[in-house]
Amino acid sequence: MSAPDLTPPLKTLDDPSESQSPLSVTVNGKNIKTFVADRLLLSDFLRDHLRLTALKVACGEGACGACTVVIDHEPARACTLLAVQADGAEIVTLEGLNAPEGLNHVQKIFQQQHALQCGYCTPGWLMTVYSMIERSIHPDSPEVAQYLSGHICRCTGYKNIWTAVRLALGADTQNSTSREE
């Protein structure tokens, strides 16, 4: 048996029974044209093929939100999509939002509010907040709770995440404790 090519998964497709399709996708502003196995999950394409590992896979069924990325201006689960379904799409991952140096505005708010502990779910939350800001969601809108219901955090108990998200959406800082760095 010849040594099979190892990770990333399904990158080379020596197996003729492994069907593949062309994929053209824009990720963080960069156009990528490649071939992928039809069954390759978008989360694996982003994490293992493009090495964009900010998004995490935690439940594999769309329930927890750790793999959330922004696709065509909407937050979406990368673990419940095939890479090929993203053909023609514009994807933003957390890597695309990171400031060249230091933390961006929303990240700073999350730090100041202690809105993360283990940090595994955090990239997903940040993608949702990014699209909420893009949509100009009002901090008092009932939609905020709906968006937040799309993520599981096992550590923080959500209290500080609520505060951080509302501040990121422009809520009055008077209503929440702002901490000095």
Binding site: M1, P4, D5, L6, T7, P9, L10, D14, D15, S17, A37, R39, L40, R47, R51, A54, K56, A58, C59, G60, E61, A63, C64, T93, L94, E95, N98, G102, L103, Q107, F110, Q111, Q112, H114, L116, Q117, C118, G119, Y120, C121, T122, P123, L126, A145, L148, S149, H151, I152, C153, R154, C155, T156, G157, Y158, K159, I161, W162, R179, E180, E181
Partner: protein
């Protein structure tokens, strides 16, 4: 292994950090998605492993056929028990006492499977997709055996035996007593007997488990990387499993995406993945997926407790008799007997209850192995005691706060010996400093207990059932037996602390930097932390039992204190001067007298070189070993307010109050985070989370949509927190642990609140629920209590 970059923080006004809400150093990488979790680390040459798991709860393994699976392109190997060599194939359990029957788990099933999810074979393939394709084709021929899933049934004669050679399913028994264990009721005393049931839960850290293994240094050493809270323990187990010297094994652990006790375990996969790397002489990796996690990560909490309380007419508890049986699943976890032991040892909490007779048992069943989960047995202990208090208050018609006042241990009786435990080293529970009555009063005030009946009536007018639950607990924290740390002055004039405490989200990097920077009197940025590498910290205990900040922090700070002494000695030697004129001041070396000089930390390496001294290649170092003979005892009062919609059974939490004392607080921001996070975990546990097995032993909750965790909509609307800070004399810096208390208190407070909201109904609430909408609606269909009926008639 994680190396920390330093976060630029504003220069401190003073070099005082302990007690300050310093923002976390770890946040920068985490917020940028560069946390470096195990699954994020590139393993370009690693083959992927998929574990073939038992689909049978109880069966003999008759044959394993690999032929079809081996034909899948990309498959490298398929291995079962017979293909792997171990010197010792049993996983460790540290709480086996004399008389305990040995039901330690084997790393891979040999001949017999005892739970769904148990590892039976291993597929090694080019990637996980192919590995799963092949795993589906591995044919295992089972001969089914009758299963037993309920621990109370498992004790019946004639119940199926998991280990027929032992002749019983009861594998561990311990008796813990205090005062007069033969106590009996006198005339006029109230006796309450209740059977409490606790349901099975699991931790569900967002990050599942994962292991990589490879041979390093020309194949002479084994390097295993794992998502573990116990790297040093794992190293010893790996060495034992393969008959290797300790030095030839290196274990590293990256930052963990949550642990909560589920990673305080040495798992079969950690040994198996290493065995595969050794057998195939190639790097391999296994990443657990969530469906695997539900059946093969440890589970928690399930037990039954019979309680009998004897209570004087004034409400003071005379004695408590508890008999408990834990459903520990098919084999011992690393600390599988700890929850039931701790339950018996700590059931009295902060209440005097002079007489105790606790008899605890572990029973094996065909479920996944049980281990600790945040709080270990303390949530069960608090729930039993606090339900008994409320029940006594109701029967004796005493106010719920008042009956607690009458039973609390006053501060002048502390420290107090509460008797010998059944833990392996039989230590005595000796409560250290504290003020339990004040903790209760602060919480009552903060929760506005006085106005509760008004609120209850207002809610009733709107058709809602409001309930208030008070709960107090004392928990074992900051356990020993010891911890070590190493600290080094780096050539660039910073210091690097090698810590054995694993970052699981608790902010250990930040608290340890605060402690070290304060000790040295330098800026936070001058201190860096490295964690999770047994080559750097070979001897350590690990991260569990709320010991990270209190013990790990203390030993790091003591190491820094040693480092100062070593630096000063070095200067004195090089300057050939009287050591007494070289002092540590304002974060640097101050030389007194004729040679008066001041060298800040950042310039010390340069200055040492210019003085002709070449401190060993590693720079100046210090090591410290902190012996911890006794744990310390944190405590708290929780007051939960619940609002039940009697039409749907849905519960809201309008207010939640905590007054707590974890000794000296290093960082209030992080302490608050631990408490709020812990409380919400506890709320989820009693309102919703439940692992469900069918009667045959098949796990029904296999995904996150099945096992419903708390979400953002479940946060208490108004969360109130009061810190008390009574330093403990057991810790050099007065610190106790705080990581688990939120969860402990929430179980009992929520159960009492639910019982209170349903006080008009004849519902015993002698369980941990979960009090989900179905449970609530069933409770509301029960008959009204006699007292409530009378009131209705008067209306």
């Amino acid at each position: 292994m994680t190396e920390k970059t330093l976060i630029p923080a504003a220069p401190p006004k003073s070099r005082r950090y302990v007690g300050e809400a310093v923002l976390r150093a770890e946040d920068r990488e985490l917020l940028q998605g560069r946390g470096g979790f195990l699954a994020d680390l590139a393993q370009p040459n690693a083959a992927e492993i998929c574990v073939v798991r038992s689909t049978e709860p109880h069966a003999l393994v008759r044959a394993i056929r690999k032929e079809r699976a081996l034909e899948v392109p990309g498959v490298i190997a398929i291995l079962a028990a017979d293909d792997l060599d171990f010197v010792d194939e049993k996983l460790p359990c540290v709480d086996m006492i004399p008389g305990t029957l040995d039901v330690r788990q084997r790393v891979i099933a040999r001949d017999r499977v005892r739970y769904v999810g148990q590892a039976v074979a291993i597929v090694v393939a080019a990637n996980r997709y192919v590995a799963e394709d092949a795993a589906a084709l591995v044919e295992i021929e089972y001969e089914s055996l009758p299963p037993v899933t309920d621990h109370m049934t498992a004790m019946d004669s004639g119940a199926p035996l998991l280990y027929p050679e032992l002749g019983t399913n009861i594998v561990y028994q311990v008796t813990q007593q205090d005062g007069n264990a033969e106590f009996a009721a006198r005339q006029g005393d109230l006796v309450i007997r209740k059977r409490f049931k606790f349901h099975r839960q699991t931790a569900v850290p967002l990050e599942t488990r994962g292991v990589t293994a490879k041979l390093i240094e020309n194949g002479e050493r084994l390097h295993v990387e794992s998502c573990t809270q116990l790297p040093q323990v794992l190293r010893a187990v790996l060495a034992g499993a393969f008959g290797l010297s300790l030095d030839s094994v290196r274990v590293t652990a990256p930052r963990l995406g949550g642990g909560f006790g589920c990673k305080e375990m040495v798992y079969p996969e950690e040994i198996l993945v290493a065995a595969v790397a050794r057998k195939l002489q190639r790097p391999v990796r296994w990443l657990e997926d969530r469906r695997e996690h539900f059946s093969s990560a440890t589970q928690a909490r399930e037990e039954t407790v019979d309680a009998e309380a004897v209570i004087a007419p004034d409400g003071t508890f005379i004695g408590l008799r508890v008999t408990g049986w834990a459903n520990i699943g098919a084999a011992f976890g690393f600390v599988g007997n700890t929850p039931i032991t701790a339950m018996g040892a700590m059931v009295r909490g902060p209440y005097r209850v002079p007489n105790l007779d606790a008899r605890m048992h572990s029973v094996v069943t065909n479920k996944s192995p049980l281990n600790v989960l945040r709080g270990a047995g303390a949530p069960q202990a608090a729930l039993v005691m606090e339900r008994l208090l409320d029940e006594a208050a109701r029967i004796l018609n005493i106010d719920r706060a008042e009956i607690r006042r009458r039973n609390l241990i006053p501060p002048n009786e502390l420290p107090l010996d509460r008797g010998r435990t059944g833990f392996a080293n039989s230590y005595h529970i000796i409560y250290d400093e504290g003020d339990y009555p004040r903790c209760l009063e602060e919480a009552l005030k903060l929760a506005e207990y006085e106005k509760f009946e008004v609120e209850r009536n207002a809610a009733a007018a709107k058709g809602k059932l409001l309930g208030l639950g008070i709960a107090m607990y004392v928990e074992i924290t900051a356990v020993g037996p010891y911890e070590t740390a190493r600290i080094a002055l780096q050539p660039d004039g910073t210091v690097l602390l090698f810590s054995s405490i694993m970052p699981v989200g608790q902010g250990s990097e930040t608290t340890q930097r605060q402690l070290v920077a304060e000790e040295l009197g330098v800026a936070l940025e001058q201190v860096a932390i490295r964690q999770g590498d047994t080559d750097e910290v070979p001897d350590a205990v690990g991260t569990f039992a709320s010991r990270g900040a209190a013990i790990g922090g203390a030993v790091g700070r003591m190491a820094a204190r040693e480092l100062i002494q070593n630096i000063l000695s070095c200067f004195a030697a090089l300057l050939k001067c009287d050591p007494s004129i070289v002092k540590w001041k304002n974060g640097g070396v101050a030389i007194m007298g004729t040679m008066e000089d001041y060298i800040p930390l950042s310039e010390i390496p340069v200055r040492l070189r210019s003085l002709g001294g070449t401190p060993e290649s590693k720079g100046i170092e210090a090591r410290f070993r902190l012996d911890v003979p006794k744990p310390s005892y944190s405590y708290a009062t929780h007051i939960a307010l619940v609002e039940i919609d009697p039409e749907t059974g849905v519960i809201k939490i309008p207010r939640y109050t905590v007054a707590h004392d974890c000794g000296k607080i290093v960082n209030p921001l992080l302490v608050e985070g631990q408490i709020v996070g812990g409380v919400v975990q506890g709320i989820g546990a009693v309102l919703r989370e439940k692992l469900v097995y069918d009667s045959e032993g098949h796990l029904m909750t296999r995904a996150m949509m099945d096992y419903v965790l708390p979400g953002a909509s479940d946060v208490p609307e108004d969360f109130r927190l009061w810190h008390m800070e009574t330093p403990t004399s057991l810790n050099p810096f007065g610190m106790r642990g705080v990581g688990e208390g939120g969860t402990i208190g929430a179980h009992a407070a929520m159960a009492n609140a639910v019982a209170d909201a349903l006080r008009d109904y004849d519902v015993p609430v002698d369980e941990s629920g979960p009090f989900n909408p179905t449970w609530i609606m069933e409770a509301l269909s029960r008959p009204l209590r006699a007292a409530a009926l009378k009131m209705t008639e008067h209306d």
